[in-house]
Protein backbone atom coordinates (compact mmCIF):
# COMPACT_ATOMS: atom_id res chain seq x y z
CA UNK A 1 0.00 0.00 0.00
CA UNK A 2 1.18 3.52 -0.81
CA UNK A 3 3.46 4.86 1.91
CA UNK A 4 4.51 1.58 3.45
CA UNK A 5 6.95 0.28 0.87
CA UNK A 6 10.04 1.26 2.84
CA UNK A 7 9.19 -0.60 6.03
CA UNK A 8 11.98 -3.14 5.52
CA UNK A 9 14.55 -0.36 5.55
CA UNK A 10 13.88 0.21 9.26
CA UNK A 11 16.90 -0.89 11.31
CA UNK A 12 15.19 -0.36 14.67
CA UNK A 13 17.17 2.66 15.83
CA UNK A 14 14.21 3.92 17.86
CA UNK A 15 14.31 7.56 16.73
CA UNK A 16 10.57 7.40 16.00
CA UNK A 17 9.63 6.27 19.49
CA UNK A 18 12.04 8.54 21.31
CA UNK A 19 10.81 11.63 19.42
CA UNK A 20 7.12 10.67 19.50
CA UNK A 21 5.06 13.10 21.61
CA UNK A 22 2.40 10.44 22.18
CA UNK A 23 4.90 7.79 23.32
CA UNK A 24 6.09 10.29 25.91
CA UNK A 25 2.65 10.30 27.54
CA UNK A 26 1.43 6.80 26.78
CA UNK A 27 2.67 3.61 28.43
CA UNK A 28 1.84 1.51 25.38
CA UNK A 29 2.23 3.37 22.10
CA UNK A 30 5.64 2.58 20.57
CA UNK A 31 5.95 3.07 16.79
CA UNK A 32 9.29 1.23 16.66
CA UNK A 33 7.70 -1.86 18.23
CA UNK A 34 4.75 -1.80 15.82
CA UNK A 35 7.15 -1.67 12.88
CA UNK A 36 9.26 -4.46 14.34
CA UNK A 37 6.20 -6.68 14.77
CA UNK A 38 5.22 -6.02 11.15
CA UNK A 39 8.72 -6.89 9.98
CA UNK A 40 8.39 -10.18 11.83
CA UNK A 41 5.05 -10.82 10.15
CA UNK A 42 2.92 -10.60 13.30
CA UNK A 43 -0.04 -9.24 11.36
CA UNK A 44 -2.82 -9.94 13.84
CA UNK A 45 -0.92 -8.52 16.77
CA UNK A 46 -0.28 -5.30 14.86
CA UNK A 47 -3.79 -4.89 13.50
CA UNK A 48 -5.54 -5.75 16.76
CA UNK A 49 -3.35 -3.44 18.80
CA UNK A 50 -5.38 -0.72 20.50
CA UNK A 51 -2.37 1.53 20.56
CA UNK A 52 -2.40 1.81 16.77
CA UNK A 53 -5.02 4.51 17.05
CA UNK A 54 -3.03 6.73 19.38
CA UNK A 55 -0.73 8.14 16.68
CA UNK A 56 -1.45 11.87 16.41
CA UNK A 57 -0.10 12.02 12.84
CA UNK A 58 2.26 14.86 13.78
CA UNK A 59 4.83 13.41 11.30
CA UNK A 60 7.80 14.06 13.60
CA UNK A 61 8.85 10.42 13.14
CA UNK A 62 8.54 10.68 9.37
CA UNK A 63 10.68 13.80 9.23
CA UNK A 64 13.38 12.47 11.57
CA UNK A 65 13.69 8.84 10.42
CA UNK A 66 17.30 8.33 9.27
CA UNK A 67 16.12 5.57 6.91
CA UNK A 68 13.27 7.57 5.29
CA UNK A 69 10.72 4.99 6.35
CA UNK A 70 7.78 7.47 6.44
CA UNK A 71 6.79 6.01 9.79
CA UNK A 72 3.49 7.89 10.07
CA UNK A 73 2.46 6.59 6.65
CA UNK A 74 3.29 3.04 7.76
CA UNK A 75 1.11 3.48 10.85
CA UNK A 76 -1.65 4.82 8.59
CA UNK A 77 -1.40 1.70 6.42
CA UNK A 78 -1.72 -0.48 9.54
CA UNK A 79 -4.81 1.48 10.51
CA UNK A 80 -6.32 1.17 7.04
CA UNK A 81 -5.79 -2.60 7.18
CA UNK A 82 -7.32 -2.74 10.67
CA UNK A 83 -10.27 -0.69 9.41
CA UNK A 84 -10.84 -3.22 6.61
CA UNK A 85 -11.33 -5.79 9.35
CA UNK A 86 -13.79 -3.48 11.07
CA UNK A 87 -11.49 -2.57 13.98
CA UNK A 88 -11.99 1.20 14.21
CA UNK A 89 -12.68 3.58 17.07
CA UNK A 90 -16.15 5.13 17.03
CA UNK A 91 -14.84 8.65 16.39
CA UNK A 92 -13.70 7.65 12.88
CA UNK A 93 -17.00 5.95 12.09
CA UNK A 94 -18.83 9.13 13.09
CA UNK A 95 -16.67 11.26 10.83
CA UNK A 96 -17.09 8.93 7.86
CA UNK A 97 -20.84 8.83 8.42
CA UNK A 98 -20.99 12.60 8.59
CA UNK A 99 -18.95 12.87 5.38
CA UNK A 100 -21.37 10.79 3.36
CA UNK A 101 -24.41 12.44 4.91
CA UNK A 102 -23.31 16.07 4.71
CA UNK A 103 -20.04 16.33 2.78
CA UNK A 104 -18.37 17.60 5.95
CA UNK A 105 -16.49 15.50 8.50
CA UNK A 106 -18.49 17.12 11.30
CA UNK A 107 -22.20 17.75 11.18
CA UNK A 108 -22.34 21.51 11.28
CA UNK A 109 -25.30 22.54 13.45
CA UNK A 110 -28.10 24.49 11.70
CA UNK A 111 -27.69 27.17 14.33
CA UNK A 112 -24.06 27.73 13.29
CA UNK A 113 -25.04 27.92 9.63
CA UNK A 114 -27.77 30.46 10.36
CA UNK A 115 -25.52 32.44 12.70
CA UNK A 116 -23.07 33.11 9.86
CA UNK A 117 -25.24 35.87 8.45
CA UNK A 118 -25.37 37.80 11.73
CA UNK A 119 -21.58 37.35 12.01
CA UNK A 120 -21.13 39.01 8.63
CA UNK A 121 -19.95 35.76 7.03
CA UNK A 122 -20.98 34.55 3.56
CA UNK A 123 -23.25 31.48 3.38
CA UNK A 124 -21.54 28.14 3.89
CA UNK A 125 -20.81 26.40 0.55
CA UNK A 126 -22.85 23.26 -0.07
CA UNK A 127 -21.29 19.97 0.91
CA UNK A 128 -23.20 18.16 -1.87
CA UNK A 129 -23.33 14.74 -0.16
CA UNK A 130 -24.92 13.14 -3.23
CA UNK A 131 -21.80 13.89 -5.24
CA UNK A 132 -19.58 12.76 -2.37
CA UNK A 133 -21.36 9.41 -2.32
CA UNK A 134 -21.20 9.09 -6.10
CA UNK A 135 -17.46 9.88 -6.16
CA UNK A 136 -16.83 7.34 -3.40
CA UNK A 137 -18.75 4.55 -5.17
CA UNK A 138 -16.73 1.35 -5.06
CA UNK A 139 -14.59 2.40 -2.08
CA UNK A 140 -14.69 -0.67 0.14
CA UNK A 141 -14.47 1.16 3.44
CA UNK A 142 -17.34 3.53 2.64
CA UNK A 143 -19.56 0.76 1.27
CA UNK A 144 -18.94 -1.32 4.38
CA UNK A 145 -20.03 1.46 6.71
CA UNK A 146 -22.83 0.46 8.99
CA UNK A 147 -25.06 3.02 10.62
CA UNK A 148 -23.43 3.60 14.01
CA UNK A 149 -25.57 2.87 17.02
CA UNK A 150 -24.89 6.22 18.59
CA UNK A 151 -23.23 9.38 17.31
CA UNK A 152 -21.90 11.07 20.42
CA UNK A 153 -20.13 14.36 19.73
CA UNK A 154 -16.37 14.11 19.94
CA UNK A 155 -14.74 15.89 22.83
CA UNK A 156 -12.46 17.92 20.60
Amino acid sequence: MHGSVKILKCFQCGTCTSDCPVARYSDDYRPRTLIHMAQLGLKDRVLNSNTLWLCAACFTCTDRCPQDVEVAAVIRVFRNLAAEKGCIPQVFKDQAQSLIESGYAYKIPELRIKKRESQGLPPLPKGNPDNVKRALKGVKFIEGLQKPASTGETTK
Partner: protein
Amino acid sequence: MTDKYLIFLGCAIPYRVSGFEISSRKVLAKLGVELVEMPEFNCCGLPLDPVSHETMLIMAAKNLALAEQQGLNILTLCPGCAGTLKKVNKILKADKAQREEVNNHLKEVGLEFKGAIETKHLLQLLKEDIGIEKIKASVVRPLTNFKVAEHNGCHILRPKEYIGFDDPEDPQTLKLLIEATGATCLDYIDETECCGAPSVGVSDKVALALAKDKLSHIKQVDAQALITICPFCHIMYDTNELRIEKLFNESYGIPILHYPQLLGLAMGLTPEELAFNELRVNPSNMLKQLTQGANKT
Protein backbone atom coordinates in the same frame (compact mmCIF):
# COMPACT_ATOMS: atom_id res chain seq x y z
CA MET B 1 1.68 36.97 -7.51
CA THR B 2 -2.05 36.88 -7.21
CA ASP B 3 -4.22 38.78 -4.80
CA LYS B 4 -7.26 36.66 -5.49
CA TYR B 5 -7.81 33.29 -3.80
CA LEU B 6 -10.49 30.70 -3.53
CA ILE B 7 -11.10 30.28 0.18
CA PHE B 8 -11.36 26.70 1.42
CA LEU B 9 -12.91 26.60 4.90
CA GLY B 10 -12.75 22.91 5.69
CA CYS B 11 -14.98 21.41 8.38
CA ALA B 12 -13.56 22.39 11.76
CA ILE B 13 -13.76 26.15 11.20
CA PRO B 14 -17.46 26.41 10.30
CA TYR B 15 -18.16 23.72 12.89
CA ARG B 16 -16.83 25.60 15.91
CA VAL B 17 -13.99 28.02 15.21
CA SER B 18 -15.74 30.93 13.50
CA GLY B 19 -13.54 33.48 15.30
CA PHE B 20 -10.66 32.32 13.10
CA GLU B 21 -12.67 32.83 9.92
CA ILE B 22 -14.07 36.22 10.97
CA SER B 23 -10.69 37.65 11.97
CA SER B 24 -8.92 36.20 8.91
CA ARG B 25 -11.43 37.74 6.51
CA LYS B 26 -11.10 41.13 8.25
CA VAL B 27 -7.31 41.30 8.10
CA LEU B 28 -7.10 39.92 4.57
CA ALA B 29 -9.56 42.57 3.38
CA LYS B 30 -7.33 45.23 4.94
CA LEU B 31 -4.32 43.75 3.16
CA GLY B 32 -6.12 43.86 -0.18
CA VAL B 33 -6.51 40.10 -0.66
CA GLU B 34 -9.71 39.23 -2.51
CA LEU B 35 -11.40 36.02 -1.40
CA VAL B 36 -13.70 34.14 -3.73
CA GLU B 37 -16.16 31.70 -2.17
CA MET B 38 -16.16 28.10 -3.38
CA PRO B 39 -19.62 27.29 -4.76
CA GLU B 40 -19.27 23.79 -3.37
CA PHE B 41 -16.73 21.80 -1.45
CA ASN B 42 -16.43 18.84 0.87
CA CYS B 43 -14.15 17.70 3.67
CA CYS B 44 -10.51 17.76 2.47
CA GLY B 45 -10.30 14.05 3.33
CA LEU B 46 -7.70 14.20 6.10
CA PRO B 47 -9.94 12.93 8.94
CA LEU B 48 -10.67 9.82 6.88
CA ASP B 49 -7.04 9.08 5.97
CA PRO B 50 -6.45 6.87 9.04
CA VAL B 51 -9.31 4.57 8.04
CA SER B 52 -9.30 4.89 4.25
CA HIS B 53 -6.44 6.43 2.34
CA GLU B 54 -8.43 5.94 -0.85
CA THR B 55 -11.31 8.06 0.49
CA MET B 56 -8.87 10.80 1.45
CA LEU B 57 -7.30 10.84 -2.03
CA ILE B 58 -10.68 11.06 -3.77
CA MET B 59 -12.06 13.75 -1.47
CA ALA B 60 -8.94 15.91 -1.76
CA ALA B 61 -8.79 15.48 -5.54
CA LYS B 62 -12.48 16.36 -5.82
CA ASN B 63 -11.84 19.65 -4.04
CA LEU B 64 -8.80 20.38 -6.18
CA ALA B 65 -10.79 19.63 -9.34
CA LEU B 66 -13.59 21.96 -8.17
CA ALA B 67 -11.03 24.70 -7.61
CA GLU B 68 -9.46 24.05 -11.00
CA GLN B 69 -12.85 24.76 -12.57
CA GLN B 70 -12.71 28.20 -10.96
CA GLY B 71 -9.18 28.72 -12.23
CA LEU B 72 -7.94 30.02 -8.89
CA ASN B 73 -5.43 28.92 -6.29
CA ILE B 74 -6.77 27.79 -2.93
CA LEU B 75 -6.24 29.58 0.37
CA THR B 76 -6.96 27.56 3.51
CA LEU B 77 -7.05 28.64 7.14
CA CYS B 78 -6.67 25.07 8.39
CA PRO B 79 -3.15 23.61 8.09
CA GLY B 80 -4.67 20.13 7.95
CA CYS B 81 -6.60 21.03 4.80
CA ALA B 82 -3.59 22.85 3.33
CA GLY B 83 -1.28 19.90 3.99
CA THR B 84 -3.73 17.38 2.55
CA LEU B 85 -4.49 19.36 -0.60
CA LYS B 86 -0.78 20.04 -1.18
CA LYS B 87 0.20 16.44 -0.61
CA VAL B 88 -2.51 14.97 -2.84
CA ASN B 89 -1.76 17.51 -5.57
CA LYS B 90 1.86 16.40 -5.49
CA ILE B 91 1.11 12.67 -5.33
CA LEU B 92 -1.39 12.73 -8.19
CA LYS B 93 0.77 14.90 -10.40
CA ALA B 94 3.67 12.48 -10.00
CA ASP B 95 1.82 9.14 -10.06
CA LYS B 96 -0.07 8.57 -13.29
CA ALA B 97 -1.67 5.27 -12.26
CA GLN B 98 -2.97 6.73 -9.01
CA ARG B 99 -4.25 9.79 -10.87
CA GLU B 100 -6.17 7.66 -13.35
CA GLU B 101 -7.70 5.65 -10.55
CA VAL B 102 -8.85 8.77 -8.73
CA ASN B 103 -10.10 10.37 -11.95
CA ASN B 104 -12.25 7.31 -12.60
CA HIS B 105 -14.06 8.15 -9.37
CA LEU B 106 -14.28 11.85 -10.21
CA LYS B 107 -15.72 11.05 -13.64
CA GLU B 108 -18.87 9.93 -11.82
CA VAL B 109 -19.46 13.54 -10.80
CA GLY B 110 -18.25 15.15 -14.01
CA LEU B 111 -14.88 16.24 -12.62
CA GLU B 112 -11.27 15.64 -13.54
CA PHE B 113 -8.10 16.31 -11.55
CA LYS B 114 -5.54 18.01 -13.77
CA GLY B 115 -3.05 19.42 -11.26
CA ALA B 116 -3.53 22.97 -12.49
CA ILE B 117 -3.67 24.91 -9.22
CA GLU B 118 -1.75 25.28 -5.95
CA THR B 119 -2.80 25.51 -2.30
CA LYS B 120 -1.48 27.90 0.30
CA HIS B 121 -2.14 28.27 3.99
CA LEU B 122 -2.86 31.70 5.45
CA LEU B 123 0.58 31.84 7.08
CA GLN B 124 2.31 31.14 3.78
CA LEU B 125 0.22 33.76 2.01
CA LEU B 126 1.08 36.37 4.64
CA LYS B 127 4.78 35.58 4.46
CA GLU B 128 5.28 34.95 0.75
CA ASP B 129 2.63 36.95 -1.10
CA ILE B 130 2.12 39.89 1.20
CA GLY B 131 5.45 39.99 2.99
CA ILE B 132 6.53 41.05 6.46
CA GLU B 133 7.23 44.64 5.39
CA LYS B 134 3.73 45.21 4.07
CA ILE B 135 2.30 43.70 7.24
CA LYS B 136 4.44 46.00 9.38
CA ALA B 137 3.19 48.92 7.31
CA SER B 138 -0.42 47.93 8.03
CA VAL B 139 0.12 48.27 11.80
CA VAL B 140 -1.40 51.43 13.23
CA ARG B 141 -1.40 50.40 16.86
CA PRO B 142 1.83 48.51 17.65
CA LEU B 143 1.35 45.95 20.42
CA THR B 144 4.35 47.23 22.36
CA ASN B 145 5.08 45.54 25.70
CA PHE B 146 2.81 42.67 24.80
CA LYS B 147 4.53 39.31 25.31
CA VAL B 148 3.13 36.21 23.69
CA ALA B 149 4.13 32.64 22.83
CA GLU B 150 3.47 30.92 19.52
CA HIS B 151 2.29 27.44 18.64
CA ASN B 152 2.75 26.46 14.99
CA GLY B 153 1.33 22.97 15.28
CA CYS B 154 2.45 20.09 13.08
CA HIS B 155 0.57 20.13 9.82
CA ILE B 156 1.71 23.58 8.76
CA LEU B 157 5.27 22.18 8.64
CA ARG B 158 5.21 18.40 8.39
CA PRO B 159 5.87 16.13 6.62
CA LYS B 160 8.45 18.50 5.18
CA GLU B 161 8.73 16.53 1.95
CA TYR B 162 5.18 17.48 1.00
CA ILE B 163 4.73 20.82 2.75
CA GLY B 164 8.03 22.50 1.87
CA PHE B 165 7.43 25.55 4.03
CA ASP B 166 9.68 26.97 6.78
CA ASP B 167 11.92 24.72 8.90
CA PRO B 168 9.93 22.17 10.96
CA GLU B 169 12.73 21.94 13.53
CA ASP B 170 13.07 25.69 14.01
CA PRO B 171 10.13 27.51 12.40
CA GLN B 172 10.47 31.28 12.10
CA THR B 173 7.52 32.53 10.05
CA LEU B 174 4.95 32.82 12.82
CA LYS B 175 7.51 34.50 15.11
CA LEU B 176 8.30 37.08 12.44
CA LEU B 177 4.61 37.69 11.82
CA ILE B 178 4.00 38.15 15.54
CA GLU B 179 6.90 40.56 15.86
CA ALA B 180 5.57 42.51 12.88
CA THR B 181 2.65 43.54 15.14
CA GLY B 182 5.07 45.06 17.66
CA ALA B 183 4.50 42.25 20.17
CA THR B 184 7.37 40.18 21.60
CA CYS B 185 7.44 36.48 20.82
CA LEU B 186 8.87 34.46 23.71
CA ASP B 187 10.81 31.21 23.38
CA TYR B 188 9.78 28.25 25.53
CA ILE B 189 10.54 24.54 25.97
CA ASP B 190 9.20 22.13 23.34
CA GLU B 191 7.75 24.85 21.13
CA THR B 192 7.32 22.55 18.16
CA GLU B 193 5.60 19.78 20.13
CA CYS B 194 2.17 18.57 18.97
CA CYS B 195 -0.91 19.98 20.79
CA GLY B 196 -2.42 16.51 21.17
CA ALA B 197 -5.73 17.27 19.41
CA PRO B 198 -5.66 14.26 17.04
CA SER B 199 -5.60 11.93 20.04
CA VAL B 200 -8.80 13.37 21.50
CA GLY B 201 -11.55 10.79 21.25
CA VAL B 202 -9.00 7.96 21.17
CA SER B 203 -7.19 8.78 24.41
CA ASP B 204 -8.20 12.02 26.12
CA LYS B 205 -5.64 11.22 28.82
CA VAL B 206 -2.70 11.44 26.41
CA ALA B 207 -4.12 14.45 24.56
CA LEU B 208 -4.77 16.48 27.72
CA ALA B 209 -1.39 15.58 29.25
CA LEU B 210 0.35 16.88 26.12
CA ALA B 211 -1.62 20.12 26.13
CA LYS B 212 -1.08 20.52 29.87
CA ASP B 213 2.70 20.39 29.58
CA LYS B 214 2.65 22.89 26.73
CA LEU B 215 0.50 25.31 28.74
CA SER B 216 2.83 24.90 31.74
CA HIS B 217 5.86 25.72 29.60
CA ILE B 218 4.09 28.75 28.20
CA LYS B 219 3.15 29.92 31.68
CA GLN B 220 6.77 29.53 32.84
CA VAL B 221 7.86 32.29 30.46
CA ASP B 222 4.96 34.56 31.52
CA ALA B 223 3.33 34.73 28.12
CA GLN B 224 0.23 36.93 28.14
CA ALA B 225 -1.36 34.94 25.33
CA LEU B 226 -0.72 31.96 23.09
CA ILE B 227 -0.98 32.52 19.33
CA THR B 228 -2.18 29.69 17.10
CA ILE B 229 -2.81 29.30 13.38
CA CYS B 230 -4.72 26.02 13.34
CA PRO B 231 -8.36 25.44 14.29
CA PHE B 232 -7.57 22.10 15.96
CA CYS B 233 -4.70 23.45 18.06
CA HIS B 234 -6.96 26.34 19.00
CA ILE B 235 -9.78 24.02 20.09
CA MET B 236 -7.27 21.89 21.97
CA TYR B 237 -6.02 24.79 24.09
CA ASP B 238 -8.94 27.22 24.20
CA THR B 239 -11.75 24.71 24.72
CA ASN B 240 -9.75 22.49 27.06
CA GLU B 241 -7.79 25.00 29.14
CA LEU B 242 -10.40 25.15 31.92
CA ARG B 243 -10.76 21.38 31.86
CA ILE B 244 -6.99 20.93 32.10
CA GLU B 245 -6.80 23.43 34.97
CA LYS B 246 -9.39 21.44 36.92
CA LEU B 247 -8.00 18.03 36.04
CA PHE B 248 -4.39 18.81 36.94
CA ASN B 249 -5.11 21.38 39.65
CA GLU B 250 -3.31 24.12 37.74
CA SER B 251 -4.09 27.72 36.97
CA TYR B 252 -3.13 29.20 33.61
CA GLY B 253 -5.58 31.89 32.52
CA ILE B 254 -3.75 32.19 29.20
CA PRO B 255 -6.02 33.43 26.38
CA ILE B 256 -5.54 31.57 23.09
CA LEU B 257 -5.70 33.89 20.07
CA HIS B 258 -5.83 33.14 16.39
CA TYR B 259 -2.95 34.97 14.69
CA PRO B 260 -5.28 37.19 12.63
CA GLN B 261 -6.88 38.35 15.89
CA LEU B 262 -3.49 39.57 17.07
CA LEU B 263 -2.70 41.19 13.74
CA GLY B 264 -6.18 42.71 13.60
CA LEU B 265 -5.68 44.42 16.98
CA ALA B 266 -2.44 45.93 15.68
CA MET B 267 -4.28 47.09 12.56
CA GLY B 268 -6.65 49.03 14.80
CA LEU B 269 -9.62 46.67 14.56
CA THR B 270 -11.61 46.20 17.76
CA PRO B 271 -11.88 42.97 19.77
CA GLU B 272 -15.58 42.91 18.83
CA GLU B 273 -14.79 43.11 15.12
CA LEU B 274 -12.24 40.31 15.57
CA ALA B 275 -14.71 37.98 17.32
CA PHE B 276 -12.93 37.91 20.68
CA ASN B 277 -16.35 37.06 22.13
CA GLU B 278 -15.99 33.58 20.56
CA LEU B 279 -13.02 32.73 22.80
CA ARG B 280 -13.62 30.39 25.73
CA VAL B 281 -10.69 31.60 27.84
CA ASN B 282 -11.72 35.10 28.84
CA PRO B 283 -9.39 37.63 27.19
CA SER B 284 -10.57 40.73 29.10
CA ASN B 285 -7.61 40.90 31.52
CA MET B 286 -5.23 40.44 28.62
CA LEU B 287 -6.93 43.23 26.67
CA LYS B 288 -6.64 45.50 29.71
CA GLN B 289 -2.91 44.73 30.03
CA LEU B 290 -2.53 45.40 26.35
CA THR B 291 -4.03 48.88 26.65
CA GLN B 292 -1.88 49.65 29.70
CA GLY B 293 1.23 48.38 27.92
CA ALA B 294 0.55 50.62 24.93
CA ASN B 295 0.06 53.63 27.20
CA LYS B 296 3.43 53.07 28.88
CA THR B 297 5.35 53.97 25.74
